[in-house]
């Protein structure tokens, strides 16, 4: 048993994760850094289990790579990813010796509790997990520290930091959290496809597509050769050339199809 009030249900799903959560819970007042360290380990253990289901080749990657891969595969929602990243970030700070206020540790513990219900449902598909409301663990022999003035100040600071982080993240993202990215993307692609057809039928705009494709191919070759990506020159050239040929062939095929359609229409008119 993990021996904790908030996480004891986890023993039925993942004993190791439940034990880490229980340990974090016990340290939250007396040693917030250790609490965050345990929570970070808990999140890393969760991520490893999930990544084994999704992308086993990434199981030895660092935590942020695993979380990004889980997000991309849509196994991890944005809000769950945010909670996991918050634990990772604060856990890293704690490991590097940054002093951690107990309200910060308590917030991350609360995040871990939110994550744990979802995690259990994910690893044991179909499991009915009754997640009870999170209750701050009692502090033995002392009055409730969460009622103190210092705690309230710490909480207020945490709220401000989280609000700031949320705004920064919202500002940086390409799509809003409440937008259906697939739906928006589909509509844009559909419209772009129509414009593509218009360009073929009505003639190219000022900067024609073949010129753009050529410039892009040259840039892609240089990018691939860049030390950051390290593709050997010959291979980079071949890759860029293949991409250029593919785009040019598609442009030509569309042009041919349009001309063919026009010819058939004209022939039809002549027959009539």
């Amino acid at each position: 048993m993990s021996g904790s009030s908030n996480f004891s249900f986890m023993d039925r799903y993942d004993k190791r994760v439940g034990r880490l959560a229980g340990q974090a819970e016990r340290y939250v007042y007396t040693d917030p850094e250790s609490c965050l360290f345990k929570l970070r380990l808990m999140v890393e253990t969760m991520a490893k289990t999930l990544i084994e289901l999704q992308s086993p080749h990434l199981v030895d990657s660092d935590l942020s790579t695993m979380l990004r891969a889980l997000e991309r595969s849509q196994m991890l929602s944005r809000s769950h990813a945010d909670q996991m990243h918050a634990i990772r970030r604060d856990g890293n700070s704690a490991v590097h010796g940054d002093p951690t206020p107990a309200p910060t540790a308590m917030r991350r513990l609360h995040d871990a509790h939110r994550l744990s219900g979802w995690y259990c449902r994910t690893v044991k598909r179909g499991a009915k997990v009754d997640l009870e409301a999170f209750t701050p663990p009692p502090r033995a022999g002392q009055s409730d520290p969460t009622k103190g003035e210092g705690w309230k100040k710490g909480e207020a600071l945490e709220k401000t930091i989280e609000e700031q982080r949320r705004q920064t993240r919202e500002a940086l993202l390409l799509f809003n959290e409440d937008e259906n990215v697939d739906e928006v993307g589909e509509a844009l692609v559909k419209e772009l496809t129509s414009w593509d057809e218009i360009a073929i039928a009505a003639g190219e705009p000022l900067i024609d597509a073949e010129f753009v494709a050529l410039v892009m191919a040259m840039d892609i070759e240089k990018l691939l050769e860049h030390p950051r990506f390290g593709v050997p020159s010959k291979e980079a050239h071949a890759q860029a050339e293949a991409q250029f040929d593919a785009v040019r062939n598609e442009l030509e095929a569309k042009e041919f199809a349009y001309r063919d359609q026009r010819r058939k229409l004209a022939e039809g008119d002549l027959i009539d």
């Binding site: 992308s55 080749h57 990434l58 790579t65 990004r68 891969a69 997000e71 991309r72 705004q167 920064t168 919202e170 500002a171 940086l172 993202l173 390409l174 799509f175 809003n176 937008e179 990215v181 928006v184 993307g185 509509a187 844009l188 692609v189 419209e191 772009l192 496809t193 414009w195 593509d196 360009a199 190219e204 705009p205 000022l206 900067i207 024609d208 597509a209 010129f211 753009v212 494709a213 410039v215 892009m216 191919a217 840039d219 892609i220 240089k222 990018l223 691939l224 860049h226 950051r228 990506f229 991409q243 250029f244 785009v247 598609e250 442009l251």
Partner: protein, 143 residues
């Protein structure tokens, strides 16, 4: 900032995010690296505030806009801003070091709407390439 200045900034941000979204989805998927790059570009190069970036993506600002609206909007921008948008859009196109026919079409349409010459367009692409080398390749593996 006055209401009028705020409106102008929001219009620029909306135009940018619409142009960037169109390029980001043109190849059929939106890797994280493209998504984060768009926001960073808005903040660092277009010098848009967080508040403006958030507001621009609200439904009442961007929700009903189409590719056509983006083209109409870039035509009204000062030349310098138009070139910055072109550079940013190409940076997104280069994020995965691959090109797709619809990406090519979008770049061609946008460059024409801004009335760039071939030299101007190439200059924007060089800038985009330089920024694209700074994007984190490890955050885009597709496995």
């Amino acid at each position: 900032m006055s209401d009028e200045a705020m409106k102008t900034e929001i219009k620029l941000a909306t135009t940018w995010f619409l142009a960037a979204r169109t390029m980001a989805v043109a190849d059929g998927n939106v890797p994280k690296v493209k998504e984060a790059a768009a926001g960073l570009y808005a903040r660092a190069i277009l010098e848009l505030s967080e508040q403006v970036c958030v507001e621009a993506k609200q439904k009442h600002n961007i929700g009903d806009l189409r590719v056509e609206d983006c083209l109409a909007s870039v035509r009204t921008l000062p030349r310098e801003l138009g070139e910055k948008i072109m550079t940013g859009v190409m940076m997104i196109a280069y994020a995965n070091r691959e090109m797709h026919p619809l990406e090519v079409r979008w770049a061609s349409m946008l460059a024409s709407a801004i009335e760039l010459s071939e030299e101007d367009f190439q200059r924007c692409c060089v800038g985009a390439r330089v920024i694209a080398t700074m994007l984190n390749p490890s955050s885009e593996e597709s496995a």
